[in-house]
Symmetry: C2
Subunit: 218 residues, 2 copies
DNA sequence: CATTTCAGAGAGCAGTGCTCTCGTTCACCG
DNA sequence: CGGTGAACGAGAGCACTGCTCTCTGAAATG
């Protein structure tokens, strides 16, 4: 007993098709290429009918964003099973960004204008890697950075509170190191993906990530 | 003798007005708010007439990008006169990004789709800060990072060549440190401007930058 | 079998960048 | 001083977007 009417099955199939087409259009033509009208056209449907399945364009974006965050976090988790290191986090994210540059831009680049991410839908998958990195840095604790002076306690209050909600209680030293490593990794990948180092860098991306984590002391 | 016809003066004035309005629209409404039609409307001109002054939208973007790069680099240069330090570079860029978040996104965020920056016009102002940072890190040379292993020599070839064209010849250690510091600073500011740390961070941005440079060993 | 729900069609609105054609006016030059 | 070509502006139009509204036909529900 399938316990579902043909209409229900057709709807689920259509919904799945929409996100699939949306992801493909994102990969191929960037976010500007993701057009509800074009999706409707590909579905053999008139443009207004698409709104039976998707409230508006923002709702589609939310789906694509959640997908992307989940995909990259899955990759990182899987890679860490073989080798638990900061470098692995970096190169895995870097490889993912190479495979899906437009998805990368969607989640770590300039926020989409006028789009407000619904916290409940995107925050959890969006913070997975950061949580992973924090625990990773907690373990390889007093690694180096001896004479590092942590900013005044109250400065990290917001971050400390945010991490607590995610089930973590790292000390300020670890928080500050996490922020630094995170900013450096994201910053490097952004610089590479966005072409800020000029052409020709694509061939040695991994070596740069290696040098970065090494320079950071990991 | 002004040596210029009224028409020439009017044209220059109009051109200046266009970039002024464009910058304002960028600040107020983001890049999507920068519309040639809207500018024409504000000039009291019909939409097609704007193309007498600007070839197309991309040409206007080039102007705005060059302006932004020049503005932030000027700020950094000025600040370094008082205090020559990595932290100063960071907090000055951070302050500028706070004042002009949309301009920041334009030059350091996701590249504008389908826009190709004309190298001659934007590369020079766009690399000024990086050059400054490189020389700065060359001087405070063997600061720390003892057991840091630099990536294989060929990996940095492209960067070394790019820096040479800009009149610099730093060793690989310095290059790698520059890349790391640069990625971290840009990454932190991006994370702050793009809201990736959640709300409430705005109040302690400077402390985070302080902690970051300190964690980096500067 | 009647009723309600739902998928789709079609027209329409406002906005964008950009092109093309047609007058008008200004600057220059013989 | 008068003619000419370049510059400027107006206006219509094309293709595209997101989104709304109304209407029709078919499927699921009672």
């Amino acid at each position: 007993m399938t316990n579902s009417t043909p209409r229900q099955r057709a709807r689920l199939e259509t919904e799945a098709q929409i996100t699939r087409i949306g992801n493909r259009m994102l990969d191929d033509d960037g976010l500007d290429g993701v057009s509800l009208r074009a999706i409707a056209r590909e579905l053999g449907i008139v443009s207004s009918a698409i709104y039976r399945y998707v409230k508006n364009r923002d709702e589609l974006l939310t789906i694509l964003i959640r997908d992307a965050f989940t995909s990259i976090a899955d990759d990182v988790d899987e890679a860490l099973e073989d080798d638990t290191s900061v470098l692995t986090v970096g190169v895995t994210m870097l490889a993912w960004s190479r495979r899906h540059p437009n998805r990368w831009a969607l989640i770590y680049g300039t926020p989409v204008p006028d789009y407000q991410a619904p916290r409940d839908e995107t925050v959890v998958p969006g913070t997975r890697i950061m949580v992973t990195l924090t625990t990773l840095l907690s373990q390889s604790s007093a690694h180096r950075t001896p004479n590092t002076q942590v900013p005044p306690a109250h400065a990290l209050d917001v971050l400390r509170e945010g991490l607590r909600e995610l089930g973590l209680e790292p000390d300020d030293q670890v928080i500050m190191r996490t922020v630094t490593v995170w900013a450096a990794i994201i910053g490097l990948i952004n610089a590479l993906r966005f072409g800020q180092f000029g052409p020709g860098i694509e061939l040695v991306e991994d070596e740069l990530m290696q040098g970065l984590t090494s320079t950071l002391g990991y």
